[in-house]
Symmetry: D2
Subunit: 432 residues, 4 copies
């Protein structure tokens, strides 16, 4: 099969889909319209499709919006063309989809993962921003595909189509995983807990756009995944008149402020890099009222899962102690998280050989360092725990602005090369 | 003149006006509709009326809303029936009004002050709340007359009418001051700086509702005014990626948190009571971004102006130092303030005698303690600095809930007794 | 009896004794030499003398030195002339003495209290300091009578001698209480708990030197006693190499620092004055070792016992929470304390009349405000709880420097007037 | 020349000298006795000897004791046998010595550095501690050779003797640098600034005892030097009576506490490891006095000099800001410091070959990581800046307890192998 040719034939379709997703961005756990389209397309291509509670373990979902918000987005998705039957299956934010195809010949089980969610970013609205100029900028206020997941989804569907077309030549079992809620590292754990990578021999993750920001590059493997935990702390005290009876209040603002400073004083770790950030603190209602409510939104990171565990364990104790300091109550909630992970060298080397052999890229980079967090690490960790192998690759493309920037855009011409390569790698690892 | 009878005759008019004001509450510096009505009414009663820049010194206005907010409220006032000519004179939030009447016979200059603004409170909307049940609850979302200033304004206009009717019998000069922006102690300073109490011999302030919350009471004088300053601090740092380059950021959230804790550690004062409250802290935008913006809203108080000066001086230095701690910039703005003040005993004693003699109240209380802040203190301080005398009285009435509570209401039957007494006191102090 | 004449006759003896006490100052709970002399003198004058465990309830002693320190001071006292038999009775720091005399005629029970301890202050050693110049400066390094308790003790013994001499004329029961450990407000509670003021009808406390610092003054009553608690907190963490393994340490220094800042942020109290002071913080051993030890020494105060209770309750919780913040252990110990107290007006008025009638003072002040703490309040509180009355007076004298200053000295000519007045008041209240 | 044999012949002398140094330990900048002995010995061996101001640039000395302390130690050294002439040359703490020998044949310039100072540690005094049992434990209270510098000095003198004996065979110029004040990283900078390694082609540093703590090991090169800065901050406020007039004080304790917490909240650095430790905080004098004095002793570290510069720059600003927070004054003083440094691979490889070839060690380790700070890095950095090469090696030996522990001791049998190897390496690098 000529993967390059097959992918080229799908290029227009990929671009059209990517722009449709871009115009209708959906943030974490509300990807009803996107996921319904994915599910329908995979079904039409002949995949067994699982979605909703089949692929999302509710207890492991993190940072899920309130029920009324979810319900509203379900309605919106239908209003914007989603098939109500698929949406109903995904109710409650269970917007993951897995398409499975079992080929006739025996072989390996190979999984590819694509993420679908958008960012909480207000997209640029000026002629200098191509999506706006060309009419496919976000129609949802405050939400934007600023990390390329629209491209990932379109690319994944093209891979599905290419490999479905080659079904007679292929061996083993193919799993195409479309994940919700990667932003905030909230979604992968729930799919892992639902067992979607159980039994997988080879796992591929992919992201478009990396450091060099140039066309014609492919980075075969990635390391430097920082383990991370996202946590909210909500403090509840007692308000009182700040002039007449300050001693009758219990000050949630001071508890939140003290906790913010304290967690930044957590000791450095002798075994590697750690991070702490209180990104948001909101407290109080009026100047002359002793403040009874405060919320702190923070994250920890670590070069290893162990270091991140140290950080979040310190954070949890400090948050409780800060509440005790000012005699207020506090509730904490884990809003997201990802482990660290390591790539499999052997698999990585084989990928390098194969990608180089395709001649599709001007530059094949063996290894890049992420230096950030990705919940793809949950999939990779589980696959490796079961004796499988996993890597995470990066597809080069010029980008208009950094990831998560309100002017983010990428060169869609990378999609065909990416789809061809993903399909070719999957075919190769499924076995001869 | 029979003040009791005159006031009784105006009772229905007072109640109707109070309810109209209650239904159309206007918060600080946006009292266009109320002030226009006051100006028009005083004019019709024969007072010389000054308003806008004539009675409000712009440089001394504190805590004024943004220009677009003011413009929007000007339009609303006109839409709700305000005379556009008066509104135009008051543009820019200069919603103070002073009505002056010079009587033929020589005498003293007497000033009475009434405040007009409403609170940023969402009014109760249920049958248990009389204003809602009887159809005069606020029609402005998030704003409510929860401190009785609607009653003060109605009462003040009745006093104007009673005294205008007695103009042939009176001596000296009468000034009726209708002040905006008492809430947040923002408005009096600007009227004082505009000179509205220059030359005043006797000054009267009045508030309805006090501790005992019962009918038939009149408290002749009040002490225990806490000096206060309201201050906002806005911190500006530099955001950075909390995972990849935290050292490149400048953390406004930590600066704000540190300042909040620090100001609460200001030393107690050996000479009397002090207060500090950081009522609001808002910082940061996203969990994984080093926060570059923060705002802190606070207030200080002191049993004396000197103690409050100590507190605010400490606050200002600490806010600057907290910014320096995290290498961020900070801007502070005074959003309101009031001095402490003392009552004039001699004038108070005469008032007690006169009020007792009227027989209008079942209980005449010589002195109550406020234990809070009131910017009426600016007027009193200025009058006293010029050799005049000043007191602040309280008019008893049952109230449905505490001042500033969303269920606040009062018994309108207190208005007639209050108007009669205010008019009678004014007449007496204007001189025989 | 001519009290003035009797006291004059004892003036030289008082001065000599005061200088002997001044030269041999003994700090809290180590007043063995002073107390032994008091006990012996009272015995010789015919008083029933109780001391040691008879007048000090061990469980209620606060801030007692370690046993070896006490033992060392017992030896020193004997070496400096104390009777070993008395010292033995007072072993363990129980250095209180009560002399009781029951007169033949029925009457009231009257108690006078004198404190005996010195301060932890290094006395001035130069010719400008009279005690040094005249050869009676402290011979004990780091300890000095800088609060006049040497004078109190000498005065108390003169009162004992005058009243013993008048025993045939007196009624009721006289109790002369010589208290240890007033500094740090550590001693009175233990005497109260031992019952030494049970059954007392009238109680007198006295201090020399007050605001005006001039001769010929007597302040009959005192208010403004601040309730107080003295507390030590000792934090224990875990040291580690600050370069190689900081995460393995538990930081006692940061816990102590956090607690110090937190307690200063305790809310002001709406019902009256409060105070907080962390006077000492010592933490850590070496720059490159994560610090595992820290101690904080603090005190709270309140205008009322209730306010002080609020303060110390906040402190205790905050100290525990600060330890939790950095995962260290903490132990707290109450090192001293005193309640607030109120004077009895009726008794005060009678004292004023009597003192004025003596003509002994150029100025008789009815009331002064202490604005500080005194554990005499424990005696006063207990007497009042039992239906008795209590006051605290001040004896005017010029002083060379403020109380507790290393140059403190007073004009010994005040002693005779003080002794005469105390004796005369006691005689009067014992009853006719 | 048979270096092994030469070194063996000196073994007894080395051990005797090491024990003499161990018995007379001298802490930083007071190594008068040790340095005088070194200077005298080198002179006798035929080296040109420079010491005092010739090899120590006064302006670059860090953490020097007060002049009276230095003077006292000069006297002690003489009393314990030091030649007064040498001591006089080293007055003011300038206790460095450099011995230079220029050989007849042309060659390279090679420098070896040995440190001489002891630690501020009280040595174990029990039979289980060999130096005590065998009679060479420290005779100086609170000071102990707990880091093996006694061994370094003895070893260095043996190297001097071996190479002096081979002078006819050698080329180039040999410099033997005996450095004071390595503990606290205080001394190397002053020797570098005096130019003692200017013109050096090859530089060798050596330390005995490393991770494995076993005999027969030699680690040829070392990396992982953490750059570091040691800083003291002294805060001066104003005391006041904590009960009567707290507002009149300026609280140095709170400033020190706030600075301690703030510096621990300095952001992690994205480019590598950083460290911060406040090791000591001492503040205040008495519980009831508002504290006017505080001192903070801290250190920063960084994986690179740049990261350490970031840390100390943050610290300096935060310390100033903390003083401003509480309106107190602060003075900071740099008490020590060292850069990071990198080893020269080429030189390291040649050393590995040579050491392996000697067959003197059972295990030759190419590289170990220090993970700590050493001011030897100043010498290495300067040599490399001038085009020379530098490495730092480690000599294996069992140790009785960790470095800086009060029970530290090492197996003296390592000294001969160390001296032989150092001499042999020097000879080789001086050139053929």
């Amino acid at each position: 099969m000529d993967f390059t040719k097959e992918a080229q034939a799908l290029q227009e379709k990929m671009i059209a889909r990517r722009r449709d997703f871009h115009r209708h961005p959906e943030s974490a756990w509300t990807e009803y319209r996107t996921a319904a389209f994915v599910a329908q397309t995979l079904t039409e291509l002949g995949y067994e499709v699982a979605c909703g509670a089949q692929v999302i373990a509710e207890a492991a979902m993190m940072g899920v919006p309130e029920a009324d918000v979810l319900a509203e987005h379900e309605k919106r998705a239908v209003a914007e063309g989603a098939d109500p039957a698929w949406v109903a299956k995904m109710a409650g934010g269970k917007t993951g989809v897995v398409g499975t195809m079992r080929f006739a010949k025996p072989g390996k089980t190979v999984a590819l993962r694509f993420d679908m969610d958008a960012n909480d970013v207000e997209e640029a609205k000026d002629e200098g921003h191509r999506p706006y100029k060309e009419g496919f900028a976000s129609c949802h206020a405050g939400v934007m595909h600023a990390c390329g997941h629209d491209g990932h989804t379109a690319l994944g569907l093209a891979v599905a189509e290419i490999l479905a077309g080659a079904r007679d030549e292929l061996c083993g079992t193919l799993k195409l995983i479309f994940q919700p809620a990667e932003e905030g590292v909230r979604g992968a754990r729930a799919m892992v807990e639902a067992g979607v990578v159980d039994g997988v021999d080879y796992f591929f993750g992919l992201h478009l756009g990396f450091n060099a920001n140039k066309a014609g590059q492919f980075a075969c493997t990635t390391d430097g995944f920082l383990a991370t935990t996202k946590l909210d702390a909500r403090f509840t005290g007692l308000s009182s008149h700040a002039g007449a009876a300050p001693e009758q209040g219990k000050n949630a603002l001071l508890a939140a402020a003290a906790s913010s400073i304290a967690v930044h004083s957590i000791s450095r770790h002798g075994k590697g890099a750690s991070r702490i950030n209180v990104g948001v603190l909101q407290a109080g209602t009026g100047r002359n009222v002793l403040p009874d409510r405060a919320v702190v939104k923070l994250e920890t990171r670590g070069a290893t899962t162990e270091i991140n565990e140290f950080m979040i364990s310190e954070v949890k104790r400090m948050v409780q102690a800060s509440a005790m300091l000012y005699d207020v109550k506090v509730e904490t909630e884990i809003m997201g998280g990802a482990p660290s992970c390591s790539l499999d060298k052997e698999m990585g080397e084989k990928v390098c050989e194969l990608v180089t052999a395709t001649g599709r890229f001007g530059e094949v980079v063996p290894l890049v360092s992420l230096g950030a967090s990705e919940d793809c690490a949950y999939f990779m960790e589980r696959v490796q725990q079961q004796g499988g192998q996993a890597i995470y690759s990066m597809l080069g493309t010029p980008i208009a602005a950094g990831h998560h920037n309100f002017r983010f855009d990428f060169d869609e011409s990378c999609l065909a090369a990416g789809a061809a390569t993903s399909a070719e790698l999957a075919a190769a690892f499924l076995g001869a």
